[in-house]
Amino acid sequence: MDDGSNMRKFTGASQYVLDEELAEIVNVSMALEMPLLLKGEPGTGKTQLAHAIAEALDMRLIVLNVKSSMKLVEALYQYDTLTRLNDSRFGDSSRDVSNIEEYIKMGKIGQSFVSDKRVVLLIDEIDKADTDFQDDMLDVLDQMEFDIIEIDKTIKAKNRPVIIITSNAKKDLSDPFLGRCNFHHIAFPDDDMMRKIIRVHFPDISKDLLDSTVRCFYRLREFRNIEKKPATRELINWVRALRSDPDFRVKDLIKGEVPYLGVLFKKSADYEAAQNGVGRFRV
C-alpha cells in the first residue's frame, strides 16, 4: 500500500494518491536522470504527478504547456527586440542597449536550466506539438544545453531538472523520442484507488456517500455512446457539489436519482444520453 516502506525519495504528496509502482518509476527515472513520459486517458492525474513531485521534494515546478503551433525556441528563450528598439530610441532604461544579453528572456526550458536549484520541469501534452518540436527538444534534453544564436552563447543546465512529460495518447510519439524517455502508462484508477483519492480530497466523507458515489460513478462511465467519459476531476467536483447541497440525501442516489449530472457530463449530447440512462438504473 502507500505507506512507502521501500521508497527512497518520492513518496507522495498531500493531494495526490500515489501507487507504489509509479513511485518506483519516478525514483528510477530521477536516478537515471531520464525524462519520464506519462501516458493515460485524461483525468488519470498525469499533470498532478508533477505537482506532487515538486511538492514532495520541495522543488520549484516549471510548467511548459505545449501548444500545437509552438516552436522549440519559444520554450528555450526569447529575444525581446521591441524593448531593445524602444530603449535605443529613448535611452531612459537602466539596461545597456549594446548588450543584447539583457534582452534575452528565458523560456520555460531555459528557466529550468538556469535555476540555481534543481527544479521539476513539466512538459505538458507534448503530443500537441508536431514531430519536429519533439525531435528538436530531444537534443536539448539529451545534451542539457542549448545555444542562444543572437549572443552566441551556450546555456548549460546548472542542475539537471526532473523532467516529466505527459501525452494524451492522441498519437504515438516518434521512436527516437521514446528511446530517450522512461515510459509509464497510468491506467484509469480502479474502485479502491478511487476511494483513496476521494478520501484524500474529502477526509471527512461518510462511508455511505463514498460508496454510493464511487459505485454510481463507475456505472455512469459504462454508459454507451458517451463521447467524453467523466474522469477523476469530474468525480471530485461532483462529490463536492453533492456535499454542498443541503437537500441531497445518499438515499436518493441509491434510489437512482442522480443530481448534478452536468458536473459529470460536459457535452450536451453526453448529458442527454446520461440522463436517459440514469432513468433506468438503481445503484
Binding site: 509502482e21 519520464l36 513520459l37 521591441l82
Partner: protein
Amino acid sequence: MVSAASGYECRCMFIDFFYTLKRVGVPVSPTSFLRLQKALSLGLINSLDDFYTAARSILVKSERYFDLYDQVFAHTFEGTELKEPDEFVLNDMARAMLDEWLRDPGGMAEALGRDKDELSKLSPEELLDYFLERLKEQTEQHHGGGKWIGTHGTSPVGHSGYHPGGMRVGGVSRNKSAVKVAMDRRYKDYSQEGPLTQAQIGEALKRLRNMIPVGPKDQINIDKTIYQTMKNAGEIEIVFDRSLRDRLKVILAIDNGGWSMDPYIEMVQILFNYARAQFKDLKTFFFHNTIYDYLWEDPRRIRKPFAVDDLVRLDPDTRFIIVGDASMAPYELMATDGSIHIEERSGKPSYQRLQFIADTFPYALWINPKMTQEWRYTHTINAIRDIFPMFELTLDGLEEAVTHMMRKH
C-alpha cells in the same frame, strides 16, 4: 548482495529476458537494455517487484506491449509457459469466426467454400478446431494474401442486403467475408502494417492544415518595424503582421449505416476523432449508404437533419470529405425513390445529389475504406467515382487525397 555465481546467472537471465522480449515483438533497443543495467548497478532495484516495474518503464515504450511484457516476464522469471504469440491471435480469431457462424451460417459456409449442412454437423468445439486449422493454414501459406476465402468479388453488385419495401435485411456484404472481418479486427491491435493507425492518420491529416494569414494583426514584423523607424528618422513605428491561423473548413460526411460499413466504423471513427482535434472549424454529418435530401448531424440519423440544399450557404472553399464504401444496390443511387427513408422522396436520385455537392464544393472528395483493387467489382463505386475523386482509406490514399485538396482549382 548476490554472490558472483548467482550474479552471473542473473545477468544471463536478463539477457535471455531481453531477447525473449525482442522475439515476441516488443520493440526493445540495446540502449535501453544498457540503461536497465545502469539502474541495476546503481542499486535502485532490490527485488523482483522493483525489477518488474523499472524494467518495464525503461524497456517498454507503449502500453500496447504491456501485456506481452507481462507474459514474457512471467515466463522468464516464474517459469510459466510462453505461448506463441500467434496462438493467442488465432484462438481469438477462431472464436470470432464461430460467433460469425452462429449469426450467419450460410454466409460463413459460403465464405469457407464448404457446404453449410456439412459444417452444421460439427459441434461448436469441433467447429472451433476446424476454424483454427484453416487459420493456421492461412498464416503459413498466404501471409498477407487473404485470398484463400476464394470467393472474392462473387457479387458484381457488392452488397448482399435486400431492399424490399424500404426495409434492409441484415446480412454481411459478400465482397467482404466474415472471416476477413474477423481477421481485420484481430490484426488491428497487433500488426503495425494493418489498416491505418491513429498515428498515421495524424501524419496524413496534418498536411491538411494550410496556414493562411487571416488572424488578428498581432505579430510584430521586426524588419519592417526597423525599416519604418529608420524612415521616420528614429521615431519608432511598429509594424504588425497578421498572425497565422488555421482557417481550413472541413466537412466530414460519414456513412455509418448498414452492415457493409460495420467493419470500418472504428477506423473511420479514429479518422474522425483525429480530424476534430486538427481543425477549428469542422462539421460532421452522417448518412446511410448514400446521400439523398438530408445529411444528419447526429450519428443515429434521427434528430438533427441538415438539408442538402442548405449546403450552398456554406463556404464553397470547405473541404467536403465523404467517407463511405460506396457499395449499394445500383438503384439506391440511380432511382428517383432510392432512399430507404420515406420522407426523403423529393424525386431527385442520389447521384444528382452527389453531383450537386461536387458542384458546390470544388474541394469535395470521397474516401473509401475498401481497397482500390476491389473497386472495379462494384458498380456503384464506379458510378460515384465519376462524380468525386476517390481515394482509399490508407496512408497512401489519404496522402493523395490531401494533395488533391491542397491543389488550387
